[in-house]
Symmetry: D2
Subunit: 488 residues, 4 copies
Amino acid sequence: MREMPPSNPFDDDKLKEECGVFGVIGVTDAANFVALGLHALQHRGQEAGGIVSYSPDIGFNSARRFGYVRDNFTKASLMETLPGSLSIGHVRYSTAGSKGQTQIRDVQPFFGEFSMGGAAIAHNGNITNADSLRKELIERGSIFQSSSDSECIIHLMARSLQQNIPERMKDALRRVEGAFSVVAMTRTKLIGVRDPLGVRPLVLGRIGDGWVLSSETCALDIIGAEFVREVEPGEMLVITEKGGIESFHPFERTRPRFCIFEHVYFSRPDSILGGRSVYETRRQIGVELAKENPVDADLVCPVPDSGTPAAIGFSQESGIPYAMGIIRNQYMGRTFIEPTEQIRNMGVRLKLNVNRALIKGKRVILVDDSVVRGTTSMKIKQMILDAGAAEVHFRIASPPTAWPCFYGVDTPEREKLLASHMSEDEMCAHLGVDSLKFISLDGLYRAAGEAEGRNPDAPQYCDACFSGEYPVAPSDMIAKGFEVKAAE
Amino acid sequence: MREMPPSNPFDDDKLKEECGVFGVIGVTDAANFVALGLHALQHRGQEAGGIVSYSPDIGFNSARRFGYVRDNFTKASLMETLPGSLSIGHVRYSTAGSKGQTQIRDVQPFFGEFSMGGAAIAHNGNITNADSLRKELIERGSIFQSSSDSECIIHLMARSLQQNIPERMKDALRRVEGAFSVVAMTRTKLIGVRDPLGVRPLVLGRIGDGWVLSSETCALDIIGAEFVREVEPGEMLVITEKGGIESFHPFERTRPRFCIFEHVYFSRPDSILGGRSVYETRRQIGVELAKENPVDADLVCPVPDSGTPAAIGFSQESGIPYAMGIIRNQYMGRTFIEPTEQIRNMGVRLKLNVNRALIKGKRVILVDDSVVRGTTSMKIKQMILDAGAAEVHFRIASPPTAWPCFYGVDTPEREKLLASHMSEDEMCAHLGVDSLKFISLDGLYRAAGEAEGRNPDAPQYCDACFSGEYPVAPSDMIAKGFEVKAAE
Amino acid sequence: MREMPPSNPFDDDKLKEECGVFGVIGVTDAANFVALGLHALQHRGQEAGGIVSYSPDIGFNSARRFGYVRDNFTKASLMETLPGSLSIGHVRYSTAGSKGQTQIRDVQPFFGEFSMGGAAIAHNGNITNADSLRKELIERGSIFQSSSDSECIIHLMARSLQQNIPERMKDALRRVEGAFSVVAMTRTKLIGVRDPLGVRPLVLGRIGDGWVLSSETCALDIIGAEFVREVEPGEMLVITEKGGIESFHPFERTRPRFCIFEHVYFSRPDSILGGRSVYETRRQIGVELAKENPVDADLVCPVPDSGTPAAIGFSQESGIPYAMGIIRNQYMGRTFIEPTEQIRNMGVRLKLNVNRALIKGKRVILVDDSVVRGTTSMKIKQMILDAGAAEVHFRIASPPTAWPCFYGVDTPEREKLLASHMSEDEMCAHLGVDSLKFISLDGLYRAAGEAEGRNPDAPQYCDACFSGEYPVAPSDMIAKGFEVKAAE
Amino acid sequence: MREMPPSNPFDDDKLKEECGVFGVIGVTDAANFVALGLHALQHRGQEAGGIVSYSPDIGFNSARRFGYVRDNFTKASLMETLPGSLSIGHVRYSTAGSKGQTQIRDVQPFFGEFSMGGAAIAHNGNITNADSLRKELIERGSIFQSSSDSECIIHLMARSLQQNIPERMKDALRRVEGAFSVVAMTRTKLIGVRDPLGVRPLVLGRIGDGWVLSSETCALDIIGAEFVREVEPGEMLVITEKGGIESFHPFERTRPRFCIFEHVYFSRPDSILGGRSVYETRRQIGVELAKENPVDADLVCPVPDSGTPAAIGFSQESGIPYAMGIIRNQYMGRTFIEPTEQIRNMGVRLKLNVNRALIKGKRVILVDDSVVRGTTSMKIKQMILDAGAAEVHFRIASPPTAWPCFYGVDTPEREKLLASHMSEDEMCAHLGVDSLKFISLDGLYRAAGEAEGRNPDAPQYCDACFSGEYPVAPSDMIAKGFEVKAAE
């Protein structure tokens, strides 16, 4: 059932992380910390956010809002409605199944009242068998309130015969396929779980006597929490305010497959993934890219802001000067409510402008993080040429994105991915640039710390968007006719 | 789980009807008709309203809003999101269990997606075994989204083994105790049901080739629909767009007990209940009141606006001139957001003012519909005396309200009802007026058309708020320790 | 210059008072009292309101808002910005010259900073030579911020050579023609002035040690102030916090001509005008009307709410029972933002409904306060006939409205007034009713306390809207070609 | 007179440009172009914006709003109220005299209706004799509506005896001292004027058959307009839709003194000033800074985003690698409405985070554009040290800011400027860093294209904020006791 349509997002031709999660226990006014943590995770989901807290006096409380964290969860009048020392939160872009029509009831955390008390959950990732689970649950009398795949988890918990909530959560998550980093809470416990492959990140932090769970370390920094360790793939942590942490491994062990695109684009450059600075990995991608695909030119310019670290690395490796050839308007927001025709047609010019006096007559290398549909690359190329550049060379900090992600990233349908039906040369001709080169999959793995590159027999990362090799069969999609690449 | 608290209602010491329901099938842009119908039923619930519609193209749609119908459901931009020829709606005051903390998700209609399709329901009344039903459903894995008793119906439907929605609704409503007039819809059907006692009203209307269900006939008038008949107590109507109406009687038959307070106060004076003009019944109450409790005075003044018809009748019977001694500010709204201290303390003076030049030196009969806590009566008496009245006589158009209602009316706890612990004489002394008289229960029945008065062995109406005789045992309340008056 | 268009008013075919004014000095948080006073005067202007206050600490403060007083000036967060013991306020409908396009800067009080300090003024009435004054002021370099005629006063004050503000105000008002009741303030003084004819009302009240100026006495009641006396026509009161009241008569004396339509419709029935209860005058109009134009019928029904007092009088005089044949929806607001087509077409049915069961087969006398364009009368007649009335007789509590008002009342252009081009019989035929009768001008004067009726040589009231005899020549209108009726 | 207080800005210790202006003539829906231009000029004023347009059908129209251009002037429903082929606009930070209390009526463009028609003006700069002009105008009867210095211009125009608006504007501006780049419009003309010193920028562009005036060239780029030339210091351009451009020089000629801080910080890096790329000038500042103040270190990190170009230049000159040591949260807005205590205390951590894994153990050079109060520098230093940096060296891309600006830039009072009472060494000790060096005034002039550096006898720029040499005596401030540095 649809409620009012939300404001139309301004499309900018990037893959979108769908969620960030954050939770804290054992601090006064925990929800304030959650708000700050979500602000630091805003890049993982800009459409909406929600916070749940619990206080013994007035029970569970929640607030869910469309828009940025800073515009909603900074207000004293709202935050006062979220008292207590235990709180979790969620930011989201959009969930599978309801793109462009998100309703406030799709905004997590989700809440369920069970006979032994309530629980709230926040989920980053995507459940690949959600359709069949949902069908089964509806047949048995569950009523879904949202179009979100994540709601299956709370219904599975409601029907579990286990007598406490952590055990019910284990029951539920064992039925679930796909990628999930979950932060949950009961009246007394903060819970964190990562799927066996560990596709999405989840880290543990310490703040005073309290504990923190977060998608990324950058959100620990903002509240002054200390980074303790990553939650392990397949691990469940159950944290109580006084009694500390219990660790469980409720799933069958398997070889982890962390999402390599978190290194390329999703995570913030000031986060630490797998013990490495994300910024440093991206700079190293630029170094590898310059080694693999050198070109003679006058300037190396990033496509702001995501291409910046790789452009710095490319400049350092190649010796070609780094320059800000494209300037980003910092007052550019993401959404427009009932925009004028002219605004609708402006596209990238609202956000980016070419530094004309700098670019004129120059041979320019543009470094971008990825090419998705190619629409933005086309416009940027045109802007650069209009400014009088002599040559335009694209260098892309990831391999060609040829396959959709089913593990919590918003990707266009396969046929809309430029690389799904064009070779590198065809893309170069399509974009009309002097050269276009992508980093190799091995080069990317090297930059991410795998000195030997990708192990084709047992890939160290999930790279399905580049390779088409899906570590978990996307069963709902297969049921709809999606053809997974045969293992070679 | 609580969301943000709503704005604080401005208490005015009246019993409040908790809901109005309306539905229409077979007209273009049905939701527009529902909006008009709800506007005409606004007196039955001013806190919030909701509308659901169905169109084959885009499925079920809904909008739920706090505030008046006229402020929300008159906007083209909102109504365009509710297309289709089948629609139902609901206005509400507040539901049992969550007074003063209504959340948007408590606002009906409620919706459930079943394996055979979706259904939406709007409920006027109150389910007296909701607590035990809710407990049982949660133990079996249902997740409640609201604090509303009405949500039980949709969960019971979800768990029914019947293969179509009307049958599931019969299943569900057979488990439910209390008072209910329900308007529901599927993708193709408009459904109306009334509980076996027929406590709350529900009428059927005709508009062109379409059909209408409404709490009251005044809402038929606003859309130009013809009043066909009342839905019978215990009857279920299932209406399809083309195929007409089917009537079922799914419950055991019992003697009807329509709420007599609908005649006294809840229903609009321009509605027709049981074949009688509500206005005319109220005027007749004034006539009976004047016969039972005459007094020598200069003026008969209504307490606006609910005392007006009875005051007219009192004047006509007594021959004492009718006069507008108290003037109502027509710009008075119901809610104030973060009011100043002064506004908070103004109380009734914001709404009513005495016609000083008229009242001065006069012996005044004030006719009001009821006395609940007596707080407003006290203030009005003081205003009249301050204006220099020589004598103040209260005449009340209903018997003493001594018992709470559990069938869909918001009443204070028993001990807060003035008549629960004071006799008529004690109330007169408490209010400090020259006389205070209530109509007798028999007088009220006579005014409502029962020439012989109340049949004590088989009362023709539900009059529990006056008599303490509850036609359906309020089992949740009894479980909490409420003592029902023993049958004599 | 236009700002954003305001919301479209819902036309209901009544003359509209254009303003109410209120001021208070010598009480703590004076602006709160002004807010309450304006709430009680809301019937004099529903489009917008403004309040100015002065506190020695932070100087003059103001807030101006579209919408009802109760929706804006009840909020603590707003009222806290208006501290001090001296405050004035204004409610408005719309000013000459900018109908339907009011901007926030048209909302009074107006403020001017002079070399000897600031002053704020609130004006009820209309300046009939505003166009020529404005032209002259612009030519000399004044910059107007609003389209309001009232702004001339503050510019005239700015250019006065007098050295204190009360003297500058005298200077300014001596240049002004037309009708004005002005409440003004400086840093230390509350000022009230009435034009020499005293067309618009203005009264003086006392609250504790403080003083109050108000358009009507009903606004004294709401704050618990005592009614002292009317400000005299042509009088200026200058009130200081400590030093009491000074009275001036800066204009040439003339015979007063108070607006008789204040008695008929504008003022609230609980106000006192010229020592008489407005309600009582209106009831007496009904008595006169019944004497002048009796008719055999079953019921006397008011057109709510303005016809009510006259209907009561008509019933009492004629002996025909009074009844509520038409019910008003009390949740009807005045404005709709981007309404649906259906709402736009509903007209009077959104607001009024016929009590069908009562009316059917009856001969009905409908008592209304006036007929302006006749559009509403036509719809009401139709509703009554649709409900099955046997006969419909209109009795109107004022003479035919045949001339526009130029003294602060919003009237349609002359040709749109039904009575400007139709006789009583023609109007009866046009409306299609069984009879239509207006009270005579003499009858109206008698009801208003002039036992001998109207003195044609020296009319006691301004009755230009009925008689076409304008006590002040409307010079701007005459310049535009309006033909004033020649004196006979 | 104060209206409601605006939301509190989040202070970030930068000098703030106070305004940007934009105008266009000869294009359909000119206001849409103005909105885009203002969006590109948003960095010059983030508090509020306004647009005026003129269409022959409905005259002058305006809209003024607090907040970003993109949140207000992108909506079709608003822009439809601004039709016509001639339009001007303004963005503002705040004006002299009313800091932190801006009211909507302080938002430009200002409008005046004169006897020969209306005119609107938008002003970038500051009038240094506004206080005395205002006093004089009030004494003669002008009524000011805002607290803005710019309003003097329109009142001077209103009182001019000239018979057309351009001549009245010349009259007015000859009375005005200080800095002004003005864009104005009449019903048929677009007008641009720059003060004789040309302190603030103003450029002319061409779009199709239309003409554009803008503070900076970056705003020509966004609408696809061609950059024609700068408006000359002391020049007035009068542009008609059909007849082209007239150029006047109404002021006595003097040597220009363009604001050098526009090169350092205010203007956007993709704008062209004086024929040079602003980005390139800033990069060159980094080069000069590295030459003047070399230091051995591991990384050169910009303080984002304003230090970036100079950091790039510093890295290139010094050979020390450029790195993103501090990451900016791109979802950080400028204002918080009623923020929680925690948000209030977060300061720079909401906006910036250190790239801990990169910084740890490193000797870091931080390049920032300026030091104002030093509060942000202190916090950044602490963040870097907390992250484990071995050494911290500040390099500042401007000389010490020791004097307030009176020409349209918001600077703290002199005593709050760190450099007003500390030497470079004292500031270094105060901030607790390993070294702190500013570029020399000569170095800055060289980077700005003056190969010989600053000419002390006839400085090529206005550099009063560094040198204390004010090219126009700030007479209002001197009257208040401000001591201007004696010419040496």
